[in-house]
Amino acid sequence: MASNAHAHDSHGEPHPLVGHLVPFWLLFITGGALLALTVITVAVRYIDVGEFNMVIALGVAVIKATLVALFFMHLRWDRPFNLLTFVGSMAFVILMMAFCLIDTAQYRSLQFTGNPPEVENTLQSNAPGAPVARFKPYTP
């Protein structure tokens, strides 16, 4: 760890005892890339590519998260065990999400459509005759 820090001494800057010095140009490039990717992900919203909108949006988010983790959070130069901790926690979130989605898919045919009864009651008392599409799916 400490030996990494001795990489540059050219300017006579005091080098840290521990950790890694990330050069400023790398920090600025990372920040610029994050802003550029934000612009891209907003622009993609207005282009209709069907199912791929979600894939692109999440893909860009994963790229941005990777940039933040590697360069801002120093994981590129950090102990591999810290990376394992972080990636491992996300792997378990994905695992839980996968099983929950599989489970809800099993009950799809039994699912109730429309507003639940209590919402219907509220609608009836607060807004009788309100033109709410109650039992129709949304069609853009």
Partner: protein
């Protein structure tokens, strides 16, 4: 007490050195008694922080799972209700958080190279970014709460326009006197100058908006006032009239429930980050950090970056649904 840990006082540390014969402890006043070397202490602190960040990922992870289940269950609700969120404000907030992440990373860099002034400037800028984020969040939330774009039953209660609220308040306060004024006006001209102003205000009252007669009336009224109404403007309905939008799918309130849960928990983390940044600024100004010891800035930065990281996912998942 003093034998348990090395204090920040170098003289005190040197005293401890005699007792233990550890060269590093004499050299580095910040080095705690139970660590062998600064590297040992630094790596332990980082590992502890990463373990905490892993619990944070799991904490938010539960809500992300809830989001995934709701979105696969009600895809039409998400693609519809996303239009009620202000993409511009969300985008600005994304940029603010990214910029503050950059200044935080720079603060760590400056702390590592003994640049106290620039480090403090970067920490203050990061703190400013956090404040900016919360201010924008406040405007977003207050607008939505005012329009009844919230979770639960309130979502299905017709929101009143500014005018309607005043009318409702006026009616609730003195319904009898209002009637008296309008009736008394022609009958007693002598009183008229005194009550002229209230009478004009009273005559402006449209009972339709104040009385709970239903959205159909509100909608008619909006049409009469040439406000954009849902069926004329299908893409984005008039925000005060989401209930009057015939295209609103059932269970739209669920979108706002998960929206407030996730962005709210994230907002709490931003507030906690502000407390942490204030603490770092205080300690930094006191001169606690240098190239040998900058661990609090480093691990504080890790926390701030994960707050940014969560928002990087929240932004497309809520604001950018096609």
């Amino acid at each position: 007490m003093s034998t348990l840990h090395t204090s920040h006082d170098p003289a005190h540390a040197a005293h401890g050195h005699d007792a233990h014969g550890h060269g590093d402890h004499a050299k580095y006043p910040f080095l705690q008694h139970h660590f062998d070397s600064p590297a040992h202490q630094f790596d332990s602190a980082k590992l502890g922080m990463w373990l905490f960040l892993a619990t944070e990922v799991l904490f938010f992870g539960g809500l992300f799972v809830a989001y995934a289940v709701l979105r696969t269950r009600f895809p039409e609700v998400f693609s519809y209700a996303s239009h009620y969120l202000n993409t511009l404000m969300g985008g600005i907030n994304t940029c603010v958080l990214i910029a503050s992440s950059l200044t935080m990373a720079m603060a760590v860099r400056f702390a590592q190279t003994n640049k106290k002034g620039p480090m403090l400037l970067c920490l203050v800028l990061t703190f400013g970014g956090a404040c900016g984020f919360m201010v924008i969040k406040y405007f977003e939330y207050s607008h939505k709460i005012h329009e009844h774009l919230v979770w639960g039953k309130t979502f299905y209660v017709p929101p009143h326009t500014e005018e309607g609220e005043h009318e409702a308040a006026a009616l609730a306060k003195a319904p009898e006197s209002t009637v008296t004024l309008t009736v008394a006006n022609p009958a007693a001209p002598a009183v008229a100058p005194i009550v002229a102003l209230p009478a004009v205000e009273a005559s402006a009252i449209k009972p339709a908006a104040a009385a709970p007669q239903g959205l159909a009336t509100v909608r008619e009224q909006a049409k009469a006032e040439h406000l954009p109404v849902a069926d004329q403007d299908p893409a984005i309905a008039h925000p005060t009239l989401h209930l009057a939008d015939p295209k609103m799918p059932a269970n739209t309130h669920l979108f706002f429930a998960i929206y407030y849960c996730m962005t709210g928990l994230h907002g709490i983390h931003v507030l906690a980050g502000m407390v942490m940044l204030a603490w770092l600024i205080w300690r930094g100004a006191r001169g606690d950090f240098n190239s040998d010891y900058f661990t609090p800035v480093d691990v504080g930065g890790l926390y701030w970056h994960i707050v940014d990281l969560v928002w990087i996912f929240l932004f497309p998942l809520f604001y950018l649904i096609h």
